[in-house]
Symmetry: C2
Subunit: 348 residues, 2 copies
């Protein structure tokens, strides 16, 4: 490895690519040379970073010579081709796509949850680490400490997902459509097949024969891999809402052991990456807008699940009762760029 | 009763009041004289209906002489005063507020669910019927037929609620704020305490000591009353999203008896007030925009809840497995005005 790691950002012109730059800068990540990579279409574009203008270079097989750390935010199919090339050239790749998340021997990491999974890897030595799906990360940061305390048996989660999860073009489309609808013009639908402005819809990923879409399946399978535990039962409903860049999630938890809301709040107060916003008096709880630009996942509406108490208010015989939570996290930061940079920090 | 019922609409200038007029007209509801009532502030305002211009009159104790049917959409505290006055004057009141929903001997009715509850009442004879909360109605129209088939044991519901639930002013505020945010101006917050445009937040109703807000408690208590069954366990998380006038709900159901998604879809296909939108191939499911202006509750994402299947895909020993649904309903129509007019139709 170079004394300060040489860094390549692949997909540098996208929403997550731009966030990689901001996060590296804000966290004073040690940086040697910086290389910005993207498709031929974006090659030559100027990108300002830290007082220097960089020219975006076309991503090719030769892009990764002398690169120690490569942060990837590319389509899954392109990652599949180029991550092994970068790793073969000696770079540690943190890949934000779904290409390698379920690949055996490639760690899938949320630093607050399973940092030990990167053992044996190093910046400047070829390797791949997968960055989980944004909705999975934002759920697991608060849910994992509760799982450790009381054993999560079942999760029912419904998401409220922002435009940024579908990239910068989706964010621009939401803005453009909103202007059009306010001007009584028909909304332009390029990224999404239906109107997004003042509307919401089931996540636009492929749907399997069981009726779950890919986003929902990711939340289940990635949780199982990150926790190294397939016993927890999860059902997810993933919905896109007309919000720019932070996801919200309504999470219902069933536990093996008794855990009440006061204990849950105490655990969450000390949990890394969590900020409690649970002001009942003033009705202030997590919102996507408050989560925007923040590193922490905001957690609120922490309450004992009344549907898991028995009639007389005691816990049911067969378990430990449950907790409801409402959480918000910045999709581009903790849901993507920040988590990837935190993975790299584990290896510094 | 007059040969065609004389009708008063109390709260005629509000979003629901206006919808009452549209629904009465569209359904050819037999109408004698029509009286539009509102607060002193709105008195004298002209309202066009069916080619005639009506003048809004101030709501007073004398407003209900010779009125057979009074449709109320007022603040709960005002309903509490005037509904008994109207009933005392001989009008059948259908009240859209929460004032009487939990009052013993006042029926709380969703016509598709418990039409028998209005027995003994008649238009032109003094009486009060309570119209349930919008989120409750939209949930119960599709969930009740499944309950009858397999016995709903537990419901975990997360809502995506539109501006209209907070009235016409909230809808105007969402539009104004959206324009302001797009123009880089600070958003005007009058109805809500925080930015609504491109944001979402926990429902702005009062929060009880158990952490549930009033909207969530309504969904539980009203379901218990409408089903006449307090055994079903319910936990709700109510969230407002920047959508104009249709609510969405992500509903997870646990059953006493086995019921799979094919059986559920068959039941819902024949269910009154339900329209199935469940096109997996084209990823088209219910949206608030598609539900807008529609009488039916749109139901989709009908799937077997994977978290209730045991490891080998069979149902758990202790029950009948579960179903996930995603539903949308027009808050102003089925969630309010339409349901109230349908109650009146039961009594024609």
């Amino acid at each position: 490895m170079n004394s300060n790691p040489h860094i390549a950002i692949a997909g540098a012109t996208g929403a997550v690519g731009q966030e990689f730059l901001r996060v590296l800068h804000q966290r004073n990540f040690p940086m040697g040379k910086l290389k910005l990579l993207a498709s031929a279409r974006s090659a030559g574009k100027p990108v300002e970073f830290n007082g220097t203008t960089y020219r975006v270079e076309q991503l090719t097989e030769d892009s990764f010579k002398d690169v120690d750390l490569a942060l990837f935010s590319l389509d899954s199919s392109i990652s599949k081709t180029f991550a092994p090339i970068a790793a073969g050239a000696g770079a540690l790749v943190v890949d934000n796509s779904s290409a390698f998340r379920q690949t055996k021997d490639i760690p899938l990491v949320v630093p607050e949850v399973n940092p030990e999974a990167v053992q044996g890897l190093a910046i400047g030595q070829g390797g791949i680490v997968a960055n989980p799906n944004c909705s999975t990360i934002i759920m697991l940061v608060p849910v994992t400490p509760l799982h450790r305390a009381a054993g999560v048996r079942r999760i029912v989660v419904s998401t409220y997902q922002a435009a940024s999860g579908a990239g910068a073009k989706a964010m621009a489309e939401l803005e453009q459509q909103t202007r059009e609808v306010l001007d009584d013009k028909p909304p332009t639908c390029n990224v999404f097949a239906q109107q997004y402005a003042f509307n919401l819809f089931s996540h636009d990923s492929d749907i399997g024969p069981d009726g779950y879409n890919t986003e929902e399946v990711k939340m289940v399978r990635e949780t199982h891999k990150i926790w190294d535990d397939t016993a927890v039962r999860i059902t997810a409903t993933c919905i896109r809402v007309p919000v720019m860049r932070a996801h919200a999630e309504s999470i219902n938890l069933e536990f093996d052991q008794p855990l009440n809301r006061h204990q849950a709040e105490e655990i969450l107060r000390d949990a890394p990456g969590v900020c409690i916003v649970n002001d009942w008096q003033n009705n202030r709880f997590p919102t996507p807008l408050d989560a925007t630009g923040k590193d922490d996942v905001l957690v609120g509406r922490i309450r004992d699940d009344a549907s898991q108490a028995s009639g007389n208010g005691t816990r049911p015989k067969n378990g430990g009762g449950g907790i409801d939570l409402f959480v918000c996290g910045d999709q581009l930061r903790k849901g993507a760029a920040l988590n990837a940079v935190q993975i790299a920090e584990l290896l510094l």
